[in-house]
């Protein structure tokens, strides 16, 4: 490692829970709210984000020594936009139904703060291994958050998980238990707010316990 910084393993592990991009850093909120109606959408979206994140991190890490500081953001944006286009076309070609459902939210990955933030914080300073590990870790953290959101919303809103009906089947009497609001914008906001609160609450409990143990 030429420069001091967290090792690849640290980078990887940090991204998942301690520096979870969605719940800890509150980055990339748009997709978290918009496409977490079903787990399948959430997985597709996080896969796209992960792909762009890894590619952008690798490219940035490769050219980090050639990069003029004031052109940094320009290069990041160019790289991200190119890979987002590739991801978008890939989905349109091979998973057309998902591509249609996610619609404009795939191109919106370009302005997803997670990616540009990782390029800036990690990839433009560290080597390939650390950048790749960081990208995978942050990507997994993002996936975890999106799937958590989508699980709550799909279970309550559609009674299913990953399109497998668990609570009721479409068109049966059980449908009266549907929380229709969970499939709609307000449900997204409420779920995200409460999950965020829950994460902070658990964190605070841990801190209290740690403080008590010290005493």
């Amino acid at each position: 490692m030429a420069k001091d910084g967290p090792t690849p393993l640290e980078r990887f592990l940090r991204g998942i829970i301690p520096e979870n991009p969605v719940f800890r850093q509150v980055l990339g909120t748009c997709p978290t709210l918009a496409i977490t109606g079903t787990v399948r959408q959430a997985i597709t979206m996080s896969a796209a984000v992960m792909f762009v994140l890894i590619c952008a991190n690798l490219i940035t890490s490769l050219i980090r020594n050639l990069l003029k500081p004031h052109l940094r953001i320009l290069v990041f944006t160019l790289t991200i936009a190119a890979f987002v286009t590739i991801a978008d076309k890939f989905l349109a070609a091979f998973v057309p139904d998902m591509s249609e459902k996610l619609g404009p939210y795939i191109p919106l990955i370009i302005v997803n703060c997670i990616i540009i933030c990782r390029c800036e914080v990690c990839a433009s300073k560290q080597g390939l291994a650390a950048s790749a590990a960081d990208a995978v870790g942050q990507g997994l953290g993002n996936t975890l958050a999106l799937v958590a959101m989508a699980t709550v919303r799909e279970l309550l809103g559609s009674g299913s998980w990953f399109d497998i009906p668990l609570f009721w089947k479409e068109g049966t009497a059980g449908e009266q238990f549907r929380w229709s609001i969970m499939n709609q914008p307000p449900g997204a906001f409420l779920t995200f707010g409460l999950l965020l609160g829950a994460v902070v609450w658990i964190d605070q409990l841990h801190q209290k316990r740690a403080a008590a143990a010290k005493r």
């Binding site: 890939f90 809103g157 229709s180």
Partner: protein, 214 residues
């Protein structure tokens, strides 16, 4: 050189070239597949919409509509503003293309967003042979039940010459009405309106279309 603008920007230019080439490759490689997907989205529905299929096979077995997707022609009407699909069945005899009916597109405002439907009509556009919702953004659990078969099947067999209406309870047979989805009357009404508008527009153009053929 170091301080000239080229010295500053060579990396950006190089990256742009590389990405440009990559994107061109993507477009050439996947572009046709994407186009095909878009086409399939409509064409996959067509065999379902012209629905006299069972009757075709005289042996009593339900006939597979082979070759419908390939044999169907796109016919512009209304001064090229709309396109109808003239549906043919290739059948066993390659020479005999059998005209099954028409499929037309309808589009209009629903409760939340635009609703797009495909409507199947018989050869003379006298009755509706099927309906499917291509795009909707209606309320999940209520309005988006317009995509269920139960709702869409109600349109099959309705008279295309008269406007389709709706009722909140089960309509009398032959009343040319459908039963609206409870809790989503507006979405149901929107579908009826879209169907009426599209069918009336197509029927007005049909004589001209038939004349062109002969």
């Amino acid at each position: 050189m170091k301080n000239s603008s080229l010295g500053q920007a060579w990396l950006v230019l190089l990256l742009s070239l590389a990405f440009g080439a990559a994107l061109a490759g993507v477009q050439v490689g996947w572009g046709p597949i994407i186009e095909q997907n878009k086409r399939n989205k409509t064409y996959d529905q067509i065999p379902r919409l012209v629905h006299d299929v069972e009757a075709v096979d005289l042996t009593g077995k339900p006939a597979k509509l082979s070759g419908v997707k390939e044999a169907t022609e796109e016919v512009p009407y209304d001064d090229g503003k709309s396109v109808a699909f003239k549906v043919f069945w290739q059948g066993k005899d390659p020479a005999g293309k059998v005209h099954l009916g028409w499929v037309i597109k309808g589009k209009g405002n629903g409760y939340a967003d635009v609703i797009e439907v495909l409507i199947g009509l018989d050869r003379k556009a006298e009755r509706i042979t099927g309906l499917t919702v291509l795009f909707n953004n209606e309320t999940p659990g209520l309005g988006n039940k317009i995509t269920t078969e139960k709702f869409q099947d109600q349109f099959r067999g309705l008279d295309a010459a008269k406007p389709v209406g709706y009722e909140k309870s089960a309509p009398a047979p032959g009343s040319n009405r459908i039963q609206a989805i409870s809790g989503a009357t507006i979405s149901s009404e929107s579908v009826c309106n879209i169907v009426n508008q599209a069918v009336a527009g197509f029927r007005a153009q049909l004589p001209a279309l038939n004349q062109k053929d002969h």
